[in-house]
């Protein structure tokens, strides 16, 4: 057995933090923010299949930056925990706070017990009845949790990105404005000499938790819907009153046009058809 030398705990923790921070700052960033119709996630992601943003439960979404294998591991754990609790109790009893707590404990335990901490930052967001009820939790590699006020940024240069969001974010933004702001924030860093750059639509991963939907609220925005939102063509469809989820309908059309099976188009009042939330309510 190798000889164990005494090392100051402070030093160990500092080293681990540094390793995790370095790992996270190398990756591309992600943001989450509330808007009038729900919660928006935008991540810079070159892959269309290795997702950084995903669905956890009816009203809970997940976004992460850092090492894919590590946050994928956490995402699966979250889905399993949410589905287990939803089955044991009721779908309404699955909350973002419980999930954030479980993630905090897990990340904290890994940070202090394992040789190598997880090089990830994750965001757990839950959409509420109004923008004021939305919850956005940010979890760092060491298990620390922050309840973010309506918007958050994570990944490399998160602070600079968050500053852009801070200046312009309003909770009553339309979806188109929110997407534009998110992309503006993400592209405000990383250009030549710290200047802004442009990010193409196919390098973005965008998803929403749609406040107006019952049941599973998570939707991905891809293809034409996304480019329309970015180019401002979607303004007509999305700037309507918050009660009418016109953007949702548009998103559905896009989802249908793709080959992959997607949830079908649904009106706002149509109950979800999964896991009995609708007809067992």
């Amino acid at each position: 057995m190798a000889m164990q030398f005494y090392t100051n705990i402070d030093q160990i923790m500092r080293d681990r933090s540094e390793l995790a921070r370095k790992g996270i700052s190398r990756g591309r960033s992600a943001v989450a923010l509330t808007y009038t119709g729900g919660v928006l996630f935008v991540a810079e992601n070159l892959s269309s299949s290795l997702h950084k943003i995903s669905e956890i439960y009816d009203r809970i979404g997940f976004a992460a930056v850092g090492r894919y294998n590590e946050f994928e591991n956490l995402r699966r754990a979250g889905v399993r925990m949410a589905d287990l609790n939803g089955l044991s109790y009721d779908r309404r009893d699955v909350t973002g706070l419980a999930l954030a707590n479980a993630y905090a404990q897990t990340l904290g335990a890994i940070f202090s017990d394992q040789q190598k901490p997880f090089e990830v930052e994750i965001c757990v967001a839950e959409v509420g009845a109004t923008p004021a009820d939305d919850q956005i939790y940010r979890l760092a590699y060491d298990g620390s949790v922050n309840d973010e006020p309506g918007f958050m940024a994570m990944g490399g240069q998160a602070e600079a990105i968050a500053n852009v969001l801070k200046g312009a974010h309003k909770s009553d933004m339309s979806l188109a404005d929110a997407v534009k702001l998110a992309v503006k924030a993400l592209s405000s860093v990383g250009g030549e000499g710290g200047a802004a750059r442009t990010i193409a639509a196919n390098q973005l991963e965008v998803a929403i938790l749609d406040r107006a939907r019952r049941g599973r609220t998570f939707r991905r925005l891809t293809g034409k819907v996304l480019t329309d939102l970015l180019n401002g063509n979607g303004a007509a469809a999305t700037s309507s009153s918050p009660a009418k989820p016109a953007d949702t309908e548009a998103a559905d059309t896009a989802a249908d046009s793709k080959d992959t099976p997607k949830p079908p188009a649904k009106g706002p009042d149509k109950p979800t058809s999964s896991a009995g939330s609708a007809d067992l309510e």
Binding site: S54, R80, A102, T106, P264, D279
Partner: protein, 279 residues
């Protein structure tokens, strides 16, 4: 929950293991007591303990498939419930109806719904319709021990097959027995105590390529015929306004007909039977 057992407070390894995409396989490690088939039962028959859910019919149509169930649950010669709902969406594109021991059936159906959603969330893609049917078969097989003691559950599964080459054949129906299955049915099928009568009615009236409206009417007629000859099947209850549950699965997803829609169909069926009781 299982998370409480780890002194560090982190989620136990069973949550974070790469392992399986199946929720029931995960449950068998994390919380086996939640699986219906894992409970030891005392010897003897338990058949008379719990209410029994009865007749379900499913019919393929040009646009997809429909499933309808009556609303009665019985315990021996008693009516245990007049308004039980036995037809449920399994996921966005498929339906499941349960006959047999109501409590076990509802538990199995909830578990199946979570199973499908769980796979979809973990893998980022839906199971194929055959994959869903096979998963349900495995879950029924897991209940075989209880079934032999009288707590049998036999579901009917129907769905819209997104990968079907011919849209007219996208609506598909699978039936089961207590040892699993599945058996794919051509055109229509009925399960439960009134299934003999419902199947006989459907045999005479079914043809390929029905519209959803025609198939819905046919399903309600078949349930009426089942209720006519089977005491455990409930007919349309006009006095209490309790009507069969009718659901459709098409390219647009699953949809449950509103109470007003089913009331209209049931009223039409009943008034037609006033003229000709045999249908």
């Amino acid at each position: 929950m299982a998370a409480g057992f780890d002194p560090s407070g982190r989620l136990p390894d069973v949550f974070t293991n790469a392992g399986t995409s199946s929720f029931t396989q995960f449950l068998s490690q994390a919380a086996p007591e939640l699986l219906p088939g894992r409970r030891p039962l005392p010897p003897g028959s338990a058949a008379s303990l719990a209410p029994h859910a009865t007749t379900i019919v499913a019919i393929t149509a040009a646009e997809g498939v429909i499933m309808a169930g009556d609303r009665r649950a019985t315990m021996g010669n008693m009516i245990a419930s007049r308004d039980i709902e036995k037809v449920h969406p399994a996921d966005e594109y498929s339906l499941v109806g349960i006959a047999g021991t109501a409590g076990v059936g509802i538990e199995l159906m909830r578990l199946f719904q979570v199973e499908l959603e769980h796979y979809e969330k973990i893998e980022g893609a839906m199971l194929s319709l055959d994959g869903k049917a096979n998963r349900l078969a495995a879950m029924i097989r897991g209940n075989l021990g209880a079934a032999m003691q009288g707590l049998a559950v036999v579901p009917l599964f129907a769905g819209y097959d997104l990968s079907a080459n011919d849209p007219a054949r996208a609506g598909r129906i699978f039936s089961y027995d207590v040892t699993g299955g599945p058996y794919e049915e051509r055109g229509y099928d009925a399960i439960g105590s009134g299934s003999i009568f419902a199947n006989a009615a459907l045999k005479k009236r079914f043809r390929a390529g029905l519209s959803i409206e025609e198939a819905t009417r046919l399903a309600v007629e078949a349930l009426y015929d089942a209720a006519d000859d089977d005491t455990a099947t409930g007919g349309p209850d006009l006095t209490r306004r309790i009507f069969p549950v009718v659901m459709t699965a098409t390219a647009e997803g699953t949809h449950r007909l509103t109470d007003d829609e089913t009331a209209a169909i049931a009223n039409a069926v009943v008034s037609a039977r006033m003229e000709n009781p045999g249908g």
